[in-house]
């Protein structure tokens, strides 16, 4: 059984159809890319999966459960985490607190316990802190744990966002243009990082990306979206030579 299966997803904003008849599936521990020209509807698809938008029609099965239209925090608890195209960190908080917030869904003490400062609270806080540091360590951010998130350089903010998403312990990680604004060296490092977290956490990754070297380099399977519709699907080599895809990106031959 696939981890997530999307059937006939449809979304329009007023007269504009953003996603039309979208079908998609991803296996456990698979790394899938979603590409397409600007305005093709890629981010809309992400927003539909994570519950930011409610689909007009269609079903999204995650672990066999229909999650279409559920609120984002419920979808997160079911095991889908994401990053954003334009970084959305908790800017005024420290790097450590950013990750701690993602760990809140499994908070090991009650509200009353927090107010009364029970021993359970202190143990729980210690546990949360250790766990958060563990995630920061993977991304080489543990020495910056007390920095304010917005003071981090761009590349580190990107990494912190991925660390924060991972801290919600997802089984599907959705990355919305993780290499945006990175130089080739940083992109290359990111590629390795993505491959290594998939190994380490045994999770599926869905990736939107413009950087073709990144997509072709790491993705096992690629979907191509244009005008809200899938125009091609398959292995990277197949996509590279697909006529429709080349047309969509470069325009038709005259």
């Amino acid at each position: 059984m696939s981890l997530m299966e999307i059937k006939n997803l449809h979304k329009s904003f007023g007269g504009l159809t953003a996603v039309l008849n979208f079908n998609f599936d991803i296996e456990k521990e698979e790394l899938v890319g979603l590409i397409g020209p600007n305005g093709a509807g890629k981010t809309t698809v992400f927003n539909l999966i994570t519950g930011v938008y409610k689909p007009d029609e269609g079903r999204i099965f995650f672990n066999g459960q229909d999650i279409a239209g559920l609120p984002p925090y419920t979808i997160c608890k079911k095991g889908i985490a994401r990053t954003f195209q334009n970084i959305r960190l908790f800017n005024d908080l420290t790097v450590l607190d950013n990750v701690k917030i993602a760990l809140h869904k499994d908070v090991p003490y009650s509200l009353m316990g927090a107010i009364c400062r029970t021993p359970r609270f202190f143990r729980g806080e210690k546990k949360i802190e250790d766990k958060a540091l563990e995630y920061l360590k993977i991304f080489n951010l543990d020495n910056k744990k007390d920095e304010i998130a917005s003071n981090l350089p761009y590349g580190e903010q990107r990494r912190l966002e991925i660390a924060r998403a991972l801290a919600t312990s997802p089984s599907l990680l959705i990355l919305d243009e993780p290499a945006a604004g990175m130089n080739p060296q940083e992109t290359h490092d990111l590629m390795n990082l993505i491959a290594s977290i998939r190994e380490r956490f045994k999770l599926s990754i869905l990736l939107i990306e413009h950087d073709m070297s990144l997509v072709m380099g790491v993705c096992e399977r690629i979907y191509v979206l244009d005008y809200g519709q899938i125009i091609a699907e398959g292995l990277p080599e197949k996509i590279r030579n697909d006529k429709k895809v080349i047309e969509a990106y470069l325009g038709e031959e005259v």
Partner: protein, 318 residues
């Protein structure tokens, strides 16, 4: 490692208890020996009540980032409920206080659920409206004296009560903020969408903060009513809410110690300007303008003054 953390907490706790007991004893001594006359005592009570109001509002405005302009309404609910319990139904003060918190919290819930889906200015206007509704409703209930309010309330609020209520308010809110629940609340202020996608039910935490804030405003109301002998709906109007908001903004949105310092400062300022009541409002506005220009983040910004800060100042390396 764990023992170090434990020991440090222990030292900090003892230090805090000692400081608080010191303050309490000192003022208690002053009151019982007549060193603090009734003028001092009235200002002291206002100070405590203002601290409770400012700290509880800072939970809503400063930490959750939801601009509420109806705090005086919750204070009114608390004040009236407690007086009905003690003066009219002859119940003990403690029961009056508990009911005041409960009813104010309930009012917070009823108002919070529909309004907290609004954002920014819309929420401000909605809460402002609800605050006024509470006042107007009280004005029209004859059982509680209508526009004239209730006179001759027994003075039950003593220094120990005031002190306990103030410390309770601050401790509960500080402990809440410095926990995973508090971080969830702050994440709503920082980025609602990101917070929601990190598994946090933002609506729940907004309502939670609103209800807890309202409860402590109710507590402040109960203390107020049983100190100043008289309550009338006019006391709890928009200007009162505005007063509290000024304290929170002056102290710094997202700083409890800032709210406490600002509440003390504003109370002293009000006392000093008592003879020129009209000027007070002009000065308020003036202070706000100056602060917004030169220190828009408030006195403390979102920083806190803790025993750790003192420790650093004194060069204590532990």
């Amino acid at each position: 490692m764990q023992t170090i953390i434990k020991n440090w907490n222990w030292r900090k706790f003892v230090f805090e208890v000692l400081v608080l007991t010191g303050i309490f004893m000192l003022i208690q001594y002053g009151i019982s020996n007549g060193l603090l006359n009734s003028y001092h005592q009235i200002n002291l009570s206002s100070m405590c009540i203002n601290i409770m109001l400012a700290v509880s509002l800072s939970l809503i405005n400063g930490f959750t980032g939801q601009l509420s302009l109806g705090h005086a309404g919750f204070m009114a609910v608390g004040a009236y409920t407690s007086v009905v319990m003690t003066n009219m139904l002859g119940q003990p003060f403690i029961l009056g206080i508990l009911m005041a918190c409960l009813m104010a919290g309930l009012a917070g819930f009823i108002i919070g659920v529909p309004t907290l889906r609004l954002k920014g200015d819309y929420l401000a206007i909605a809460t402002l409206g609800f605050g006024e509704i509470i006042r107007v409703v009280l004005q029209n209930i004859d059982y509680v004296g209508g526009p004239a309010g209730i006179l001759g309330i027994t003075q039950l609020t003593t220094w120990p009560w005031l002190f306990a209520a103030t410390v309770l308010t601050v401790v509960v809110i500080v402990n809440l903020i410095n926990s995973s629940y508090g971080r969830a609340i702050i994440s709503v202020r920082e980025d609602e969408i990101a917070s929601e996608l990190m598994g946090i039910n933002t609506t729940y935490y907004k309502v939670l903060a609103f209800v807890i804030g309202a409860m402590f405003a109710g507590l402040a109301g109960a203390m107020y009513a049983h100190y100043f002998y008289i309550i009338k709906p006019g006391t709890f109007n928009f200007m009162k809410s505005f007063d509290i908001l000024v304290m929170v903004v002056l102290g710094g949105l997202g700083s409890t110690t800032g709210a406490v310092i600002a509440a003390i400062f504003i109370t002293l300022l009000t006392a000093a300007l008592q003879k020129w009541a009209a000027i007070r409002m002009i000065l308020y506005a003036f202070i706000l303008i100056v602060i917004m220009i030169y220190r828009p983040q408030g006195l403390m910004g979102n920083k806190e003054l803790t025993t750790k800060t003192f420790g650093r100042v004194w060069g204590d390396k532990k």
